[in-house]
Amino acid sequence: MASFVPSSAETVEDQRLYTEERLVEVACLDCLASVRVKKNSEHQTSVQWSTEGRSHCQEFQRRGTGPGRRDLHKPCPRMMASIDDAVRAGDVPIGAYDGY
C-alpha cells in the first residue's frame, strides 16, 4: 500500500538526489566492509551502509545485537579512520552542489 505519495515526478527526483547522489565508495582498511560516503563540508559526513557491508564489519559483529544495547549507535572507529584517510587522500570530494 502506498504512503506519503508525492504528487510530482520532481519530488521523486529530489528523493534520489538527496539520498543517492554524490556518494563515494570507501573500503575499510581493516576488514572487508565498504560504505558510501558524502561530505558537504570539512566536518560533515554522511555514511551509507548496506546490509552486506554491515555484515562484514568486525566491530559491529563484536558488539553483538542484544536489544536495548545503547552502544549499537556508536560508529565503527576503524571505518571512521578509513574514511578520514580517504578524505585526506582526496578520494572524497568536499562540498555540496546546491545543498545536496
Binding site: A2, S3, P6, Q44, T45, W49, G68, Y100
Partner: protein
C-alpha cells in the same frame, strides 16, 4: 516553464504505522473501569482483567455498535452497555447472557499489549501480524525505583498535522536554535533497523530567557532514540550552572486520524544524592515544565505549517530525506520493505558555520537589548 520552486504537499497515508504505540501509564488503567482512548481512526477501550492484566479492544461492539468504553468490567471481560455482550481481551465474545450460544463469528479487533517502564504499549499492524516483542523499547534500569522520580505524564492533542512532523525533528539541527533557543554544538544521527537516533550537545542562548532549552547557564547532552514509529526514549544530561542532572524523557504519540495525533511525554529525574525530597520534587517539576515548554514551541510551528514532501535543503541541514525513508518502513507491508529503509545510515552535521553566524546574531541581540535597557533608564 518557471524556475519557481513549488511545495509538493503530497498525500498523507491512509494507513497507520505498524509497531508499538504507548497509551499511557499502566497504573492509570487499573481502577476496574473501562477507559476510552482515541487512536488509529477509532476509539479503543482499555481495561484490566481480574489479574490486573491490561486488555485493549476496538471500542465499538460488533453486535449493534454499542460504545464499550461506557460499559462495565464484569469479571475478566468488558460488557457492552447496550445488550450486555461480554468481550474478552482476546477479542472473542465470551457470553451473551440472554442467548444460548455465542455466534462463532463474534470476534472483534484486539490489540496485543505489553507493559514497559510502567507504560502500556499496544501493537498495531494493518496487516494483522502477531506482536513482535523484539521491537519493544528497552527496560530502563532503576526507573520506577526510588532512585528516580515517578513519571510525570502529560498529554497534548495535535490537530491538522500528520505525526511525521514530530519525527522530522530527529534530523532537524537548525530548529533547535530558532524554535528551542539553543546552540547545537554537536549533532549526529544514526538510523538503522527500526531505530532512529539523534545525539546532540547544546548550549542555551543567552539572548532568550530561561525555559525550554534556552538560557546561557544551561548545557545539554542528549541522546534520543525512536524504537519504532512512535516511541522515543531521550536520555538527557542537563548541566545547569555546573549542577548536572540526569533526566529521562519519553516522547511518544498515537495517531488519532490521518491528520491528527496525541502527543504524550513523560519525565523521570534521577534523584541527585544528598538532596531532600522537596528539592528533588522542585527540580523534577522545573525540568518537566521546561521540556513541556519545548514541545509547545514545536506545536506552534506544526499548527501553522503545511505538509512538504519535497523539502529544499541547504548543506548544513540534517538528513530529512533519509529519516523519512527510514520512517516509511512502518507504512509499508512487511513484504515491501526495501533494504535502504532499514540499512544503517550515519550522519554528522557541521555546526561550526551555523554557530559562527548564530553567535554573531546573538551578540547583536544582546547589544540591542543592552542599549534598549539604557534608554529605558534615562
Amino acid at each position: 516553464m518557471t524556475d519557481t520552486r513549488t511545495l509538493d504537499q503530497g498525500n498523507a497515508p491512509i494507513r497507520f504505522a505498524r509497531g508499538w504505540h504507548c497509551l499511557g501509564l499502566a497504573e492509570d488503567f487499573r481502577d476496574g473501569k473501562p477507559h476510552p482512548i482515541e487512536g488509529f481512526g477509532t476509539k479503543l477501550v482499555v481495561w484490566a482483567d481480574s489479574q490486573g492484566e491490561l486488555k485493549v479492544l476496538d471500542g465499538f461492539c460488533r453486535h449493534m455498535g454499542g460504545d464499550l468504553t461506557q460499559g462495565e468490567v464484569k469479571g475478566d471481560n468488558i460488557a457492552c452497555p447496550f445488550h450486555d455482550w461480554r468481550w474478552g481481551g482476546d477479542g472473542k465474545c465470551k457470553e451473551i447472557p440472554y442467548a444460548r450460544r455465542v455466534p462463532l463469528r463474534a470476534r472483534t479487533q484486539r490489540y496485543e499489549t505489553a507493559v514497559r517502564n510502567g507504560q502500556l504499549l499496544i501493537w498495531n499492524d494493518p496487516e494483522g501480524s502477531a506482536a513482535d516483542h523484539d521491537l519493544l523499547p528497552p527496560e530502563l534500569p532503576d526507573v520506577m525505583t526510588d532512585k528516580y522520580t515517578p513519571w510525570s505524564w502529560h498529554v497534548k492533542e495535535i490537530n491538522g498535522s500528520h505525526c511525521r512532523e514530530l519525527i522530522d525533528n530527529v534530523a532537524d539541527m537548525a530548529h533547535f536554535y530558532y524554535v528551542h533557543f539553543a546552540f547545537p554544538t554537536s549533532f549526529r544521527n544514526i538510523f538503522e533497523g527500526h531505530t532512529a537516533t539523534q545525539f546532540m550537545e547544546s548550549k542555551g542562548r543567552p539572548d532568550k530567557g530561561d525555559g525550554g532549552y534556552s538560557g546561557e547557564d544551561s548545557m545539554l547532552r542528549s541522546e534520543a532514540t525512536y524504537y519504532g514509529p512512535s516511541y522515543m526514549i531521550n536520555w538527557l544530561e542537563v548541566d545547569y550552572k555546573g549542577f548536572v542532572t540526569e533526566v529521562i524523557l519519553i516522547n511518544c504519540h498515537i495517531p488519532t486520524g490521518p491528520e491528527s495525533f496525541r502527543l504524550q511525554y513523560g519525565i523521570s529525574v534521577r534523584k541527585p544524592e544528598g538532596l531532600d525530597e522537596k528539592s528533588v520534587d522542585y527540580i523534577a517539576e522545573a525540568y518537566t515544565k521546561s521540556f513541556g515548554d519545548g514541545f509547545l514551541q514545536d506545536v506552534a510551528i506544526w499548527e501553522n505549517k503545511v505538509a512538504v514532501q519535497n523539502p529544499l535543503l541547504c548543506e548544513e541541514d540534517g538528513p530529512v530525506y533519509q529519516l523519512r525513508r527510514w520512517y516509511e518502513q512502518f507504512y509499508t507491508d512487511v513484504a515491501d520493505i526495501k533494504p535502504e529503509m532499514t540499512d544503517r545510515f550515519e550522519f554528522e552535521v557541521d555546526t561550526t558555520k551555523a554557530n559562527e553566524y548564530w553567535h554573531a546574531e546573538v551578540a547583536e541581540n544582546l547589544a540591542r537589548m543592552a542599549a534598549d535597557g539604557e534608554h529605558a533608564h534615562h
